[in-house]
């Protein structure tokens, strides 16, 4: 199972929630599957997906899901410490760990070698850290989102690979404004 298959598999779990999605292929694949105004697509700043999700979850009461990747987490690992120490109850961080920098030419990341993001997250202070494979992810994710008194970090181990997708044809202001309308409503 690769990232696209996993994103397809978790559509039912995430479609009604505020989702912050990682830059590049993850956002483009999610857009192709089902473009929704409650999905915030990142167009720049690799590494900050989980931080944006954290900021949103500290600001509102509804559940927030960040869909991040191993490469971008490795680029901004300190945010796991902030997530661990603040641990907003409404925040679920899903790290799709395919051991690959998918959007930059499929170079291998350190999670292929010695780095365990599960151990990093736990060491950073995150309490509820679950590593699972792609098939198990919908169930784990669903329970994490519904649990309203804990924040979760889920590391979903999948295979590398991207599908052929186009750039997202939305401008950043449009992405932001339609996303914010859902916040105002809820």
């Amino acid at each position: 199972m690769n990232r696209f298959n996993l994103l397809k598999l978790i559509q039912k779990q995430i479609r009604d929630y505020h989702v912050i999605c990682n830059i590049g292929y993850p956002s483009q694949e999610l857009f192709k599957l089902d473009d929704r105004s409650n999905y915030f697509y990142m167009l720049g700043t690799m590494g900050l997906c989980s931080s944006i999700g954290l900021g949103l979850s500290l600001s509102i009461d509804e559940p927030v899901i960040s869909i991040d990747g191993d490469g971008s987490i490795l680029m901004n690992m300190n945010t796991l410490a902030t997530i661990g120490n603040r641990s907003p109850n409404n925040f679920t961080l899903l790290i799709i760990d395919n051991g690959s920098y998918g959007s930059t030419g499929d170079q291998k990341t350190f999670t292929n070698e010695k780095t365990s993001l599960k151990k990093v997250a736990m060491g950073a202070g995150c309490k509820n850290v679950i590593e699972c494979d792609g098939i198990e992810t919908p169930q784990v994710l669903s329970e994490a989102i519904k649990c309203t008194n804990k924040s979760y970090v889920i590391i979903s181990k999948v295979k590398p690979g991207n599908i052929k997708v186009k750039s997202i044809p939305l401008n950043p202001i449009k992405i932001k404004e339609r996303f914010k309308k859902n916040i105002i409503k809820s």
Partner: protein
């Protein structure tokens, strides 16, 4: 404490309600006040670039964010300021202790100090330079501008202004 209190009073009065800080000795009074303030959301963050990301999320959640940082941290955040805050038009207050200005005791601070204003100018970030107490009255105008046009704004607070406040 006079300077710190006044700055925070102006920011809060203009709707800023979400604060993050990466520490600087010159900002320590302000950080102490924020830690105790129950009216706002506050957290420390380990690195400036991450703080920019959290500020963007706070804006999506209808908060008005402010990041306290040293000017050295602007160097750590250039891409996040430009490709996230500017690109998505996210109002954010960058409240900056301006190291490397007259009075500075650490020589290395002059390196970033000498390029900070040009860096902010290159990024097209509206910048207010405060080097005396009366300059603080201009902060309101910049906060309003940030919200109105959807841009980060930088408030640079000189070494001596902040040092005298400690």
């Amino acid at each position: 404490m006079k300077v710190s209190k006044k700055i925070l009073m102006i920011l809060k009065k203009n709707g800023v309600n979400f604060f993050l800080s990466v520490p600087c000795k010159l900002l320590s009074n302000m950080i102490s006040i924020l830690e105790k303030d129950k009216e706002i959301i506050y957290s420390a963050v380990p690195r400036e670039e991450e703080g920019i990301g959290i500020c963007a999320g706070a804006h999506l959640g209808n908060k008005f964010p402010c990041l306290l940082l040293q000017n050295t941290g602007i160097g750590n955040s250039v891409n996040a300021i430009v490709s996230l805050l500017k690109y998505y038009k996210i109002p954010t207050i960058l409240l900056i202790s301006y190291r490397g200005t007259p009075g500075e005791t650490v020589k290395a601070q002059y390196q970033m100090g000498s390029i900070t204003k040009n860096l902010l100018k290159t990024m097209n970030v509206p910048t207010l330079h405060c080097n005396k107490f009366s300059d603080l009255d201009k902060i309101s105008k910049y906060v309003v501008k940030s919200k109105k046009i959807g841009t980060p704004v930088a408030i640079l607070c000189d070494f001596n202004l902040m040092k005298a406040d400690q």
